[in-house]
Subunit: 339 residues, 2 copies
DNA sequence: ATCGTCAAGGCGAACGTTCGCGCGAACGTT
DNA sequence: AACGTTCGCGCGAACGTTCGCCTTGACGAT
């Protein structure tokens, strides 16, 4: 700020060449005599020259920015993902000469407006999407515009776009297989409404694992609802009120918050978790290790997903063809005392 | 992308005026005949003109970006703050025509390098700092350069810079007063090392509340250590092993993670939390409401802090003088079953 | 001697905007 | 009728880069 701006012209003046020559030499676009080369580098070093990024972007007609927006969770819920996801994206982007542009998430029709505006004002070169679901309007819009983006999460099968996702089915499959290995046979699932793509995906693993050992899950053991503590608790109370021969001995919830509700319900009924009822969550939120008992849960490779999203998007922006348009990452079951 | 770029010249061509005139009219800098005015607005509307932000920045010599970087918490710990803080900043910034530029947090000497680089390449107009502590090198650097910034958190008293902070002392004071009102007299504190500015601030409120009712806290009841689960647990075990007449009946931890460790320790000793031992945390992390029993904790007005930081920084960037250079926000005690 | 070749580096232009100045016409004043 | 004044708008310039083309001098081959 205080020190006068040091531009190409300043460096050129000190080195005794034209400023365009300085540009080319610093960018390695031009062979000059060893002597001149040295003079230019010295001058740049002396003055502490750093290229003005705005001017570069102006010239390039690109912003080298990646737009990203996330649903803000309510103060009760926690987005434990955000820190890791954002950090990994920021790092990966910076390494490739890009930066992230976070913008407010809007619900409804204005959502597209925000994307449209960022494109029109040329603030971003591409987007990373999260919280995608079936028929995501953003995907339709961006595909139609032919604007580059990568989604973290899948959508309708017929839509062709690059995505990275965590293999939710593989996660629950591991979890259920673990419960089966422990001798559980009546395993319940606390699931989400069928309108949730992620929920359906995760639930698939439950069916796969059960079918593999020839068990047909009883219909009463599959409950659906919003993924909150209260819903998890109520569902579990319903399960525990079943007659003994139908009552599940284990349950898996599609997220940790529901699993915590389930633990609460079990305690209300005087059951000891891990012994009388096995509980497994999904997401491995940072605090579930401190619950009593610590919650077994499924951890997603979030940082890896973030890196991959940016890596793929950058490839698109640089005009390369993607070696892999779809990336499916495996989650990992973290065993603790609850199951 | 596909549609040809619509610039001022395109609008001007359609409206039959010079492109500079279009610029001025759209920015309200020039009075023209009602008829021309209408023609220009129509043309801009028709073509869907939106100003190229990069060119604007180029012209203005500013980026309208606010640099922000945060310490990435380890995967076990959680940054439940980030979502709210970031969201509120992004919204406030956008409303003022700015955007946030997140960049990777670096430890040690390279940290300043990152800040220096963003300034030199003119990518940002100012910074918001978090996780500031005594003698924060970033503060020294930015003050010396005269580069605009606002800190969330205080540092050395002698350093003069704009900040927003949560009144940690007021938080613990409320908590201790609540414990005193409940009849507790031997109240322990699980604190941080004296090198922590935030820790000292929060601890102050403990002393203030105790002194106000004429109680000198016993030295054994003040323990210091890193703010982790394990440290919190170990400290609490030490407290509970004190002879009955010295043993505290309540404790307050400077963060929730330690408080959770304390709850764990109490359970190990067969105590019922809330009855045999009152526990209060700090931060009100989203999941502590689901602990057993739910944890009483101190909630910080994070979103308000984020808004305020950006608001003040924008004022600085617009050349206004700050009406208030220091803002101290009051936290709120959230009462639950643990105390 | 003449010509083509090549290395070294200068020069003009352009990206899209905003800003200050200037110019002609219309208008009101002396 | 001559003279300021105002209105409505055009024009040139600039922000700092990068890119393509041009110029100059030296050199070797014919």
């Amino acid at each position: 700020m205080m020190p006068p701006k040091v531009t190409l012209k300043a460096v050129a003046a000190q080195a005794g060449v034209s400023y365009q020559t300085v540009s080319k030499v610093l960018n390695g676009q031009l062979q000059v005599s060893a002597e001149t080369h040295e003079r230019i580098l010295q001058a740049a070093q002396n003055l502490g020259y750093r290229p003005n990024q705005i001017a570069r972007n102006m010239r390039a007609g690109r912003s080298f920015m990646i737009g990203y927006s996330w649903v803000q969770t309510s103060p009760d819920q926690v987005n434990h993902i955000l820190d890791q996801f954002l950090s990994s994206m920021v790092r990966e982007a910076e390494a490739a000469g890009y930066h992230l542009l976070p913008f407010p998430f809007q619900e409804g029709e204005e959502q597209i407006t925000a994307y449209r505006e960022l494109i029109a004002t040329r603030r971003v070169d591409g987007f990373v999407l999260t919280s995608v679901d079936y028929n995501d309007p953003r995907i339709h819009f961006l595909l139609e515009r032919g604007f580059p983006f990568v989604a973290f999460g899948r959508s309708n099968p017929e839509l062709d776009f690059p995505w990275v996702d965590v293999d939710g089915a593989a996660g629950t499959r591991q979890a259920v297989e673990h419960l089966l290995a422990r001798g559980h046979r009546r395993i319940a699932a606390l699931a989400w409404p069928e309108t949730s793509r992620v929920g359906n995906d995760r639930l698939q693993g439950y069916f796969q694992a059960m079918q593999k050992v020839g068990i047909t899950p009883c219909p009463k053991c599959l409950l659906r609802g919003e993924g909150t503590f209260d819903v998890g608790r109520e569902m579990t109370l319903r399960l525990l009120d079943l007659p003994a021969e139908e009552r599940p001995t284990a349950l898996i919830a599609l997220n940790d918050t529901m699993a915590i509700g389930a633990m609460y319900a079990a305690r209300e009924r005087g059951l000891e978790i891990g012994r009388d009822l096995a509980v497994i969550g999904f997401d491995d939120a940072p605090m579930v290790q401190y619950l009593y008992p610590p919650l077994t849960s499924i951890r997603q490779p979030i940082a890896q997903a973030g890196r991959k999203c940016v890596e793929m998007l950058v490839s698109l922006l640089e005009g390369k063809t993607l070696t892999e348009k779809h990336v499916l990452l495996a989650p990992r079951l973290i065993l603790r005392a609850s199951a």
